[in-house]
Amino acid sequence: MTTRRAFISKSLGVAILGGTMPSFLATAAGAQALPALGSTIDPGNVLLVIQMGGGNDGLNTVVPYTDDAYHRVRPTIGIAENTILKINDRIGLNPALTGLDALYKDGRVAIVQGVGYPNPNRSHFEATQIWETASPDRPTATGWLGRYLDRTVAQTPVDVSDTARLFPAVSLGDTVPAALVSQHVDVPAIGALGTYGLNAGRDTASKQTAGVLYDGARPGQSPYLGMIERTARNAMHGGDVLKAKIASYVPAAEYPKDNFAQQLRLAAQIVGSRVGTRIIFVSIGSFDTHAGQRTQQDRLLGYLGNGLRAFYTDLAAHALAESVLAMTFSEFGRRVAQNASNGTDHGTAMPLFVVGGKVKGGVYGEHPSLTDLDRGDLRHATDFRSVYATVLQKWLGRDSTGVLAGSFDTVAFV
C-alpha cells in the first residue's frame, strides 16, 4: 500500500509549488469531519465525473498489445508494442497517457475493462442518454447523479450563505448534463468562474440593484413565483460567494493550458475550499474519431492523463488526494476493426478509468475477446451500472438500488 507521502513524491513530472503545505491549509484538512462511527465512508468524499464525449476508442486506450488479432484488424492505426506503456503482459496504455501511467504506477488508477450494457445503442445522442440516465430500457427525465442528489439534499429553501446547498454539485461547462438533472436540486453550470454571475457591463449600479430586486414581487397566485425569486437571488449572489470562498486556495501544481486541465484546476479549487460540493462534472471531447484517429485521440488522451496528473499532484499537496475519486465514461467504444479512413466507427464496450488516493489500483474484469464478437463488436464484461453502484455505495455512501432502479454487483476498486 503506497502511503500518501509516497504518492505525492512519486507523481512524476509535475512541479510541486512550494516545499510544504501552507499551515492554514493543513489546519483546514485536519479539521475535516470524521466519518461516522461504524462507517468507513468519509462524508467529505467528492466524486469527479469525466465525460469523454464522442465515443472513445477503448482498444487504442487500453491496448491488448500481445493479441495478434489486435494488430491484424488495425494494420495502420494499431499501436506498436515498443511504444506501449505496459500494464502487464497482455495490456498497456496508449503512449499519450504518460500522466495517467504515472498515477497508475503509484497504485491510484483502476482500469475497469469491457464496460457496457445489453443491446448497446450506437447513436451518440441515445447512448449518451442511456449512460447519463442509467436507464437503457426507457427514456427517463432524471440523471443517475440527479437522483442521488434528490435523495441526499434537503428540499428546504436554500440560504445564500450555505454553499453546500448552493453548490451540492457543479457542472464545469455551459450547461447541466443529463446525468445531473434532478427533481429538486439546483445544479449550477459554471462554464468559467469569471462569467458565472450577472453581466451588466460597466453598469455596476444595475448589478447592485439586481441584487435586491427579488424580494416580494408577487403578481398573481403562481406557485412558481417564490421559486423564481429564491433561485434568482441565489443566482445573483452565488457567483460572488463562490469566488470569495475559493480565493484563498492556491493551486500547488502547474496545470497544462488546455481547457480540460483548466476545468480540473477549478475543480481542485472547489474541492480545496470545502464549499460542500459532492459531485463535479467535467468533459473532454471529441473522441468521435471516424478518420485520422491516431492524431486526434492521442492528443485528447494526452490532455486527459496530464490534466489528471496535475490535478492529483495539486490535491496531494493539499492533503486532499484521498478525498476525490475521479471516474471516466464515454457513450460507447468503437468498432474492433479500423475503417478505410484510418479511423473507427461507433462500437460498444470500452474500459473506464477510476482514479484517486483511495482507489485500489489495478485491472478489473477481463479484457473482451477480439475474436468472439457480437456482430463485429466487443461483448461487455461489466455492466456500467455496476461501476455506478460501486461509486454510490462505496464512495458516496448511498444505497444504489433506488437510484439505479435495480440491484447491481459492485466492483472492488474502492
Binding site: T142, T175, R202, D203
Partner: protein
C-alpha cells in the same frame, strides 16, 4: 424486467385556489384590459410590442381571439428552407435550422400556427441529433400546416412523417423483424399515456405499422411486401388491422381524449389541471371531432383562461422567453448567438433531450438558467446601434443593424411623455410586465433611475437618459413576472 416509473419528476404545480367547474369553460364576459390582452398574446402567440398589446386590447376578447384564429392578412413570404447546403454541414446545421425557425417565430403574422407547431414539437419530440436537418424542417412545416386541424389527421401524418420514421426507427419495422419503438411511443408519449395499453397492444400495433418506411429519396412509402397483413388485436378491435386502423382506434379511446386535453390545458392554462377540467374539455374535443383549433379556441375564450389562477401561472419556456423578449423589444432580426443562449437556458430548439421532450415547469428554473436569461436580457436591451456619424465598421465586425431593438429609449420617452423618472418608470413597468410588481420593487427601480452612482453619476436627465432607461428596462425585464407566461 419491471419498469420503474418512480424516477420521473412531477409535471408542475397546480395554482392554489379552487376551480369553478360549472363556469370554467363558459365564455368569459368580464373586462378585457391590456393585462388580459398581454396574457392572451403570451399564451396563444409569442407576446408582442406594447403597441400590439394595446391594439389587441382594443379588439375586445372575442375580436382578439378571432384575430389570432383567423388572421386578416396572408403571412409574410418565408423561404421554405434555409440554404440547403448548410443543413448538411455537421458543425453548423443545428444552429442554421434553429435560426430558421426562430426567425419565423419572431416575424410571422400568424403566431398561433407557429405556437401550435412549437407545442407539437415538444409533444412529438424529435431531435436533429439523430434526424437529418432537412427532415426536421419538413416536420416543423407539417406541424404548421396540420397542427390546428383534426388530431387524427395530424397523428397519421406524424406516423408517416420521414423525420419520425427515422427518429423512432419505424423505417426498419418490417414483417420479418418488427420494430416496436414507434408503436410503443405513439401510445405512451403521443396519444394515450403510460398504463393505458398492454404489451400485446404494442406488439400488434407494431405489426400494423410494418411496411411504413422511407424510399431512397427519404419520402414516406408503403411497401406491401414488408407489411404483416395477418389478424391483429388492438385495444379491443380485431381484424387485419392497418396502421390507419390503429391511429383511428387510438383517437377514439376516451383515455386519448383526456390525455390530449390535459396536454393542451398544461400548455395553455396551468400545470396539473383538475380532472374535472380535463373531462369538460374532453367533451368539447370529442364533440368537435378531434378539432384542435376548436378546442384551443374554447380555451382562449373561457373563464378559466382569464381567471387569476391561470394568470402568470406557467414558467416561460426559454424559446417563449427569448422570442417574447425579441418581439417586445421590436427586434427585426434574431441575433446569431441566440441558439447558444437558448442552450444555456436549457432548451436546445429542435434537439429535445429525449423522446419525452422537455419536462418544462419547474425544470426551467435554476440558477444557471436564470443567469442565462438575465444576461440575454442585458445583451439585447443594452445593445445600442452605432451612431450614424461613427465610421463604418469593417465587414468582419459589422453587426446586422436589424438585431438592435427598435424599442429605443427615445421611443420609451415618447410613450412616457417626457424625461421624467416617475413617468418613465410607470411606462416601463406597465409595458414590460403589465404592472405585475410591488411598490417596493418600484422604489428600487426609481432609486436606480434617480440615484447618482459610480457609473452614471447623475439622476435621470437629458444627458444620461439613454443609458439609464436601458438599464432600468433591463432590470424590469428581469423581474419574476417576466419569467412567467
Amino acid at each position: 424486467m419491471k419498469l420503474d416509473t418512480s424516477t420521473d419528476p412531477q409535471v408542475g404545480y397546480r395554482p392554489p385556489g379552487t376551480l369553478d367547474i360549472a363556469s370554467a369553460l363558459a365564455r368569459y364576459d368580464g373586462p378585457f384590459t391590456k393585462r388580459h390582452a398581454a396574457h392572451l398574446l403570451r399564451r396563444a402567440a409569442f407576446g408582442g410590442t406594447a403597441t400590439e398589446v394595446d391594439t389587441s386590447a382594443s379588439f375586445g376578447m372575442m375580436g382578439a381571439v378571432d384575430a389570432l384564429l383567423h388572421p386578416a392578412r396572408a403571412d409574410l413570404a418565408f423561404s421554405d428552407f434555409p440554404d440547403v447546403a448548410s443543413l448538411y454541414d455537421q458543425k453548423n446545421r443545428n444552429a442554421v435550422a434553429q435560426m430558421w425557425w426562430l426567425d419565423r417565430m419572431l416575424r410571422t403574422q400568424h403566431p398561433l400556427a407557429e405556437k401550435i407547431a412549437f407545442l407539437w414539437h415538444g409533444h412529438f419530440a424529435t431531435s436533429i441529433r439523430k434526424v437529418p436537418a432537412p427532415l426536421m424542417i419538413a416536420q416543423i412545416d407539417m406541424f404548421r400546416q396540420l397542427g390546428l386541424g383534426n388530431f387524427r389527421t395530424l397523428l397519421l401524418a406524424v406516423a408517416q412523417n420521414p423525420a419520425m420514421l427515422v427518429w423512432l426507427d419505424n423505417r426498419a419495422n418490417n414483417k420479418a423483424h418488427p420494430n416496436e419503438n414507434f408503436a410503443r411511443e405513439v401510445m405512451e408519449l403521443f396519444a394515450l399515456g403510460l398504463g393505458n395499453y398492454t404489451e400485446d397492444d404494442i406488439k400488434n400495433a407494431a405489426r400494423a405499422f410494418t411496411g411504413w418506411t422511407l424510399d431512397a429519396t427519404q419520402n414516406f412509402v408503403y411497401r406491401p411486401n414488408q407489411h404483416d397483413d395477418g389478424p391483429k388485436s388492438f385495444l379491443g378491435t380485431t381484424g387485419n388491422l392497418t396502421g390507419e386502423d390503429v391511429i383511428a382506434t387510438i383517437v377514439k379511446a376516451p383515455i386519448h381524449q383526456r390525455f390530449i386535453c390535459r396536454k393542451l390545458l398544461e400548455f395553455f392554462v396551468y400545470s396539473d389541471p383538475e380532472p374535472e377540467l380535463i373531462d369538460a374539455l374532453s367533451q368539447t374535443y370529442a364533440l368537435s371531432g378531434y378539432d384542435v383549433a376548436h378546442t384551443v379556441a374554447t380555451i382562449f375564450r373561457s373563464n378559466v383562461f382569464y381567471s387569476p389562477r391561470a394568470y402568470r401561472a406557467i414558467p416561460k419556456s426559454p424559446v417563449e422567453f427569448v422570442v417574447g423578449l425579441l418581439r417586445f423589444m421590436d427586434v427585426a432580426e434574431v441575433p446569431k448567438d441566440t441558439p447558444y443562449w437558448l442552450a444555456r437556458m436549457g432548451q436546445d430548439l429542435l434537439a429535445p433531450p429525449s423522446v419525452k421532450g422537455w419536462d418544462g415547469g419547474p425544470t426551467w428554473i435554476n440558477t444557471s438558467t436564470m443567469l442565462a436569461r438575465f444576461n440575454y436580457i442585458n445583451r439585447i436591451v443594452k445593445a445600442a446601434p452605432p451612431r450614424a456619424t461613427a465610421p463604418p465598421m469593417s465587414t468582419t465586425t459589422a453587426i446586422a443593424l436589424g438585431t438592435f431593438p427598435a424599442l429605443t429609449p427615445d421611443r420609451i420617452v415618447a410613450r412616457a411623455g417626457g424625461i421624467d423618472a416617475d413617468r418613465v418608470l410607470a411606462t416601463l413597468v406597465s409595458d414590460a410586465v403589465q404592472d405585475d410588481t410591488t411598490s417596493d420593487v418600484r422604489k428600487t427601480l426609481a432609486a436606480y433611475l434617480q440615484s447618482a452612482n459610480a457609473t452614471i453619476p447623475t439622476p435621470l436627465s437629458p444627458e444620461n437618459y439613454q443609458e439609464k432607461i436601458r438599464g432600468a428596462l433591463a432590470l424590469t425585464l428581469q423581474l419574476p413576472a417576466n419569467q412567467l407566461n
